[in-house]
């Protein structure tokens, strides 16, 4: 079963994402902030990471940099989650 890690600080949003993923037949894992997200990524080595951009302390960009810095996690496909309509081009990608 494909493993997907969701990194999202908003509890209800996190719950909804996990619900949808599980109902679609994925093994979904959750992390409530960037730091925990990095640890979980190393531990469970997911097939895909969905990560919120705006989070307190370590944000989405920080998580991505952390993943890319380690060979073990550098190649995991990574999708930024933003609220609908938000333009990503304005951020430092």
């Amino acid at each position: 079963m494909n493993k997907i890690l969701v990194i999202e600080d908003e509890p209800e949003m996190r719950r909804n994402l996990l619900t949808i993923l599980r109902l679609e037949g994925f093994a979904a894992f959750a992390a409530q902030d960037g730091g925990v997200g990095l640890e979980e990524a190393r531990r469970i080595h997911p097939d895909l990471i969905l990560c919120d951009v705006m989070m307190p302390r370590l944000d989405g960009y920080g998580v991505l940099a952390g993943l890319r810095a380690e060979p073990q996690t550098a190649t995991i496909p990574f999708i930024f989650l933003t609220a609908r309509g938000e333009s990503l081009t304005s951020g430092p990608v």
Partner: protein, 584 residues
């Protein structure tokens, strides 16, 4: 024999005639010489420069013209007792002692050269006279005579110095970073022109009615605090727009003789220690006096003279212009900076607001999607959970919208403040009831209003907003059942309102951000909130002319103290201004 006698007589006659002719010739020559001497004397006497003849052996002056007497301020008898060293300062600007330097130049003249050089002379009153001197040896039998022709360069030098100072001050406007550096630069320029160990700049802020001392260098006193236009010397210069040179001794003498230089209202002492001599010039722009440049010396009462006064007056004019320009430049920069800051705040705010709206919007959309697509796979409890989520998020968006609109009204200055006399205990009681029912009676709230605080004058809407927010917060961040205390006490015209909880407290590192839009304590994430509540509380308190303080201890609780001017100055005044109660 007879012929011999006749011949002798003839010879005698001839001789007499020749003698007479010779005497005539001598008379003619003498007259011619006298005329020539007279011509020479007139030439020397009316030469534009000062001329002196020096006996180089005795090193004493042998002769001089009227201009020389005028230049040195001496009588002919006095001057002809002296030599070059005695009408010069001890040292020349190149560092050589005057007697030694003078001997060198005189030796050159005696050797047949005609040296031309700059020299500092000394007037009888002690002031220096910058001069140009030309020496030439005079033909004289058995004596070493040297003629000195001296041109007074004082006026020329003065113009040069003024020109240089003007140039340097206008250059300084562009070369310095801010007004403070400009003041320091002006001081440096003044130092090169006259003694300026004690130097200050006073600026008259007419709008505030204050004189400020933005630059003050003094060996005796510290910089004075801004103060009202004084009756001292600085005040005199500001009021009259005229330069002033006074010294303590002559001021007292003239005062005793009833010949005061200053008007009766002016005291000699400007500030702290009285100076031996005080020199001040107006800083003026287009005829308006904006301040004073002042110099003082505590010991040497002749440190400054009329020439320094003229020079400082000129520097004052230039400095006034320079300050005006620098001020305009600084104002422009400040305005630009403020504009930028406002623009930044606005775009920060917009991005924060949109993020705050997106989060509940995202929850509503995803919960709705789950209910639509997976309704059959969901447990009844899960369905309820998603419906609750939608409802909560919708309310959160509505609250946020309300608060953003309110904040917008504050920003636009459109918040009204309409205070009325009312019974504070009734209003506070209603607020407590409302908050308790909105929070599902999670925590007991004890309301305590001192009797003398009951009759208060406040805008009900503003008061309600402040304490609804604070009480909701207190309950939101307390464990259910923990008591919350809401007390109001009177201190003079102030109501001291305290909202006290035994909740989780605010982390110290979040306290300075407490009143920033959308900043929430790091331990508040599990409770819904917009991050605007306290911002609005602060705005409301400010609108009410009050203040707000926060005391908090992590894990023990938080006390928020709001001080509001709710009462009249005295009970009698309260009675007279308080309208009849309508019994509500």
């Amino acid at each position: 024999m007879q012929t011999a006698i006749n011949r002798r007589k003839r010879v005698e006659t001839d001789l007499r005639q020749q003698n007479a002719a010779l005497e005539e010739r001598v008379r003619e020559l003498t007259a011619e010489l006298a005329a020539s001497e007279e011509r020479l004397r007139t030439l020397v006497e009316h030469a534009p420069e000062a001329m002196l003849v020096l006996d180089a052996e005795a090193l004493r002056f042998d002769n001089c013209n009227e201009n020389a007497l005028r230049l040195f301020g001496l009588s002919r008898e006095q001057l002809l007792q002296l030599g070059p060293a005695e009408i010069s300062p001890e040292i020349q600007p190149d560092g050589r002692p005057s007697p030694e330097a003078a001997r060198g130049w005189i030796a050159q003249a005696l050797a047949g050269r005609t040296p031309i050089f700059e020299w500092i002379h000394k007037h009888a009153d002690g002031r220096s006279i910058p001069c140009e001197v030309r020496l030439v040896r005079l033909p004289a039998e058995g004596r070493d005579l040297v003629r000195a022709s001296i041109i007074d360069n004082t006026e020329h030098r003065r113009r040069e110095r003024i020109q240089q100072a003007t140039y340097r001050i206008s250059e300084a406007v562009h070369g310095v970073r801010d007004l403070q550096s400009l003041y320091a630069r002006v001081h440096e320029i003044v130092i090169e022109l006259m003694p300026a160990r004690n130097f200050y700049i006073a600026i008259h802020d007419a709008a505030a009615g204050l004189v400020r001392f933005p630059y003050f260098v003094d060996e005796r006193d510290p910089a004075p605090a801004p103060r009202k236009l004084s009756t001292g010397l600085t005040g005199w210069v500001i009021r009259t727009g005229k330069p002033l040179l006074v010294n303590r001794r002559t001021h007292i003498q003239k005062l005793q003789a009833g010949l005061a230089v200053l008007d009766d209202q002016t005291t000699y002492v400007e500030n702290g220690t009285p100076a031996a001599v005080w020199l001040g010039a107006p800083l003026s722009v287009r005829g308006k006096t904006m301040g004073v440049l002042a110099l003082q010396d505590y010991n040497n009462e002749s440190a400054y003279g009329e020439e320094d006064k003229q020079l400082l007056t000129f520097i004052g004019e230039q400095t006034g212009l320079a300050i005006e320009r620098k001020q305009a430049e600084e104002d422009l920069l400040k305005t630009l900076e403020r504009e930028k800051e406002l623009g930044r705040l606005k775009s920060d705010f917009v991005s924060l607001v949109s993020h705050e709206f997106r989060t509940p919007l995202g929850i509503i959309m995803s919960s709705a999607e789950i209910l639509r697509d997976y309704l059959d796979s969901l447990e009844p409890a899960e369905r309820t959970e998603h419906l609750d989520s939608i409802q909560r998020s919708t309310r959160r968006m509505a609250d946020l919208m309300e608060e953003v609109l309110l904040l917008g009204m504050f920003e636009a200055g459109r918040m009204d403040f309409k205070p009325e006399w009312l019974d504070l205990s009734v209003l506070a009681g209603r607020i407590v009831d409302e908050v308790r029912s909105a929070t599902g009676h999670a925590c007991p709230v004890r309301l305590e209003i001192s009797p003398e605080s009951r009759h208060a004058r406040t805008d009900e809407r503003i008061f309600r907003h402040i304490f609804t927010n604070l009480l909701s917060n207190a309950i939101k961040y307390s464990e259910p059942g923990k008591p919350v205390h809401f007390g109001v006490q009177r201190e003079g015209t102030q109501a001291v309102c305290r909202v006290c909880d035994q909740g989780r407290g605010i982390p110290p590192e979040d306290r300075e951000w407490l009143f920033r839009a959308f900043h929430r304590g790091r331990n508040a994430a599990d409770r819904p909130g917009t991050g605007l509540g306290l911002v609005l509380v602060k705005r409301c308190v400010e609108l009410h002319g009050g203040s707000v303080d926060v005391e908090s201890s992590l894990g023990k609780g938080t006390t928020i103290t709001v001080r509001l001017p709710l009462f009249a100055a005295s009970p009698s005044q309260a009675a007279s201004t308080e309208p009849q109660e309508n019994g509500s």
